[in-house]
């Protein structure tokens, strides 16, 4: 089972496609109303990579980044399965659940 932030990061990676480096992932999550600091993001990415749920490749160095490369991330097969599994649980729980308007 993935934590909320792991789900956020993995979904953002899926949405960003081939351009999913740290800042793009952060912006994608922010555009959906959540904020992850870079420190948190790197930690989560590191954690996901160690578990084999994502992998990375180095891009080309660019002047804007002081001639440093971007690190692009992508979901692995295991990552896709884990994410689907987690979302299926959430969807199952959500389906047919009626939340009260006000508590």
């Amino acid at each position: 089972m993935l934590t909320t932030r792991e789900q956020l990061v993995m979904l953002a990676i899926a949405r960003c496609g081939r351009e999913s480096y740290a800042l793009a992932i952060q912006d994608e999550i922010r555009s959906h109303g959540q904020t992850l600091t870079l420190g948190v993001l790197y930690t989560v990415l590191n954690r996901l990579e160690e578990r084999g749920l994502i992998r990375h490749r180095e891009g080309e160095p660019t002047p804007e980044r002081g001639d440093r490369p971007k690190r692009f991330h992508a979901l692995t097969g295991a990552g896709v399965r884990e994410l689907r599994s987690t979302l299926r649980v959430l969807d199952g729980l959500r389906a047919g659940t009626e939340l009260p308007e006000r508590t």
Partner: protein, 403 residues
């Protein structure tokens, strides 16, 4: 493309234990450029707002770098998470929801606080030293550039005086002909050198032979006596004489030149020469936004300057030799300036180029302010991180965590 200061990047790399090509440093640099661009759009692009732009971007960079460094410290980016103590990991997960300091930092690393403070002190000392040397070098550089400008203007003025003198000497060579031919030759010289306003030829005894003038009617053989005139006496004694600068119509500078003639045509030729061209040379000298140049004659009087209000001011000649590179003096307009000067060899005049210290030191003050701001932010972040206490509570780890 704005990049973060190199020192700040090095500090971030040190805190992250990252190599120079680490992608995290690239992300921080990219964010820095983004924040700088955003600040420029909001604040505009000049003067003190430029300092604020840098400070804004610096502050974000420091905050992001501290954030990444603290999480890296706790999570141990280079080691497996499984090796981390449960309490530390729980603290990390707990802190993910906030930007607050990590409880585990203070508790787990007794060496961290003194190490960070030591780093901050070292950074402060290195920064102060760098600023001092940069300050001195920049002022010396500015004064060096000012001296080059003064020397260029002095050389141009010198060439002008020499050219007038040579033309005058040529007209004197022709003085052996008939009086009418002599007058025509003098008129021709005045046409070639528009700055020549009057030429007076004297005989060996100081009596006037011929006067060709733009101010009065030409006269020949008036016999006016110049034998007691300082121009005549000095030219006879030294061969050449350059008089004190004087003004016509309040603001038009002129100078008297006198050249002695030898041989069968012995005598002295006097010439009144306009210095409006010299004034133009002095005024064309640019030094920064508010800098200016001025010309002082041999008596220490300002004869060409940035505006007519500065003309005729007396300049203390004793201060000429005191003007050391990089030293600050009271300038022509009464404000502190960085000053440099150069002499005009043929006349003994001096060209001064001055730049108010408010403008010369503005970039240095900006750098100082910016450095102090970044340092304050860094120290605040360090103190914030190290001052917090308490231990992490494993029970706060999110449900469903696979760890």
């Amino acid at each position: 493309m704005k990049q973060p200061p190199r020192a700040m990047e090095r500090l971030a790399a040190f805190c992250l234990r990252a190599s120079d090509d680490d992608s995290r440093l690239g992300d921080l640099s990219e964010r820095y450029a983004h924040h700088h661009r955003r600040a420029r759009e909001r604040l505009g692009g000049s003067g003190w707002t430029a300092v604020l732009q840098h400070l804004f971007a610096d502050a974000h960079y420091v905050a992001a770098a501290v954030n990444v460094a603290l999480f890296a410290q706790v999570a141990g980016m280079g080691q497996p998470l499984a090796a981390l103590p449960d309490a530390k990991f729980a603290g990390l997960v707990h802190s993910e929801g906030t930007m607050g300091p990590l409880p585990s930092v203070a508790g787990s690393s007794n060496w961290l606080k003194p190490a960070l403070l030591l780093t901050a002190v070292a950074f402060l000392a290195a920064g102060a030293s760098d600023i001092w040397y940069t300050w001195r070098q920049t002022e010396a550089l500015i004064v060096g550039v000012q001296r080059e400008k003064a020397e260029a203007a002095a050389a141009q003025i010198d060439r002008f005086v020499v050219a007038v003198r040579d033309k005058l000497a040529w007209s004197m060579d022709k003085a052996a002909g008939s009086p009418e031919q002599h007058r025509i030759d003098s008129l021709r010289v005045m046409r070639q050198v528009p700055e020549l306003a009057e030429i007076v030829h004297l005989d060996a005894g100081g009596k006037e032979l011929l006067r060709v003038s733009r101010f009065a009617r030409d006269t020949a053989g008036s016999g006016a006596d110049f034998s007691g005139d300082v121009r005549y006496l000095e030219a006879r004694k030294r061969g050449t004489y350059v008089g004190a600068v004087y003004f016509r119509n309040a603001t038009e500078p002129y100078v008297s030149l006198a050249l002695a003639r030898d041989g069968g045509n012995a005598g002295v030729t006097l010439a009144e020469t306009s210095l409006l061209g010299v004034n133009g040379v002095v005024r064309s000298v640019k030094s920064g936004e508010s800098g200016y140049a001025f010309l002082v004659d041999g008596s220490g009087r300002v004869v060409a300057g940035p505006d007519t209000g500065t003309l005729r001011q007396h300049f203390d000649k004793s201060r000429w030799s005191e003007r050391d590179p990089g030293a600050v003096h009271t300038g022509l307009t009464g404000v502190p300036v960085l000053s440099a000067h150069a002499a005009v060899p043929t006349t003994g005049w001096r060209v001064f180029v001055e730049l108010p210290t408010t403008e010369a030191r503005q970039p240095l003050w900006s750098a100082l302010l910016r450095g102090a701001g970044v340092l304050a932010l860094g120290l605040a972040a360090v103190l914030l991180a190290t001052a917090s206490g308490g231990s992490a509570r494993p029970g706060e780890a999110p449900l469903g965590s696979s760890r």
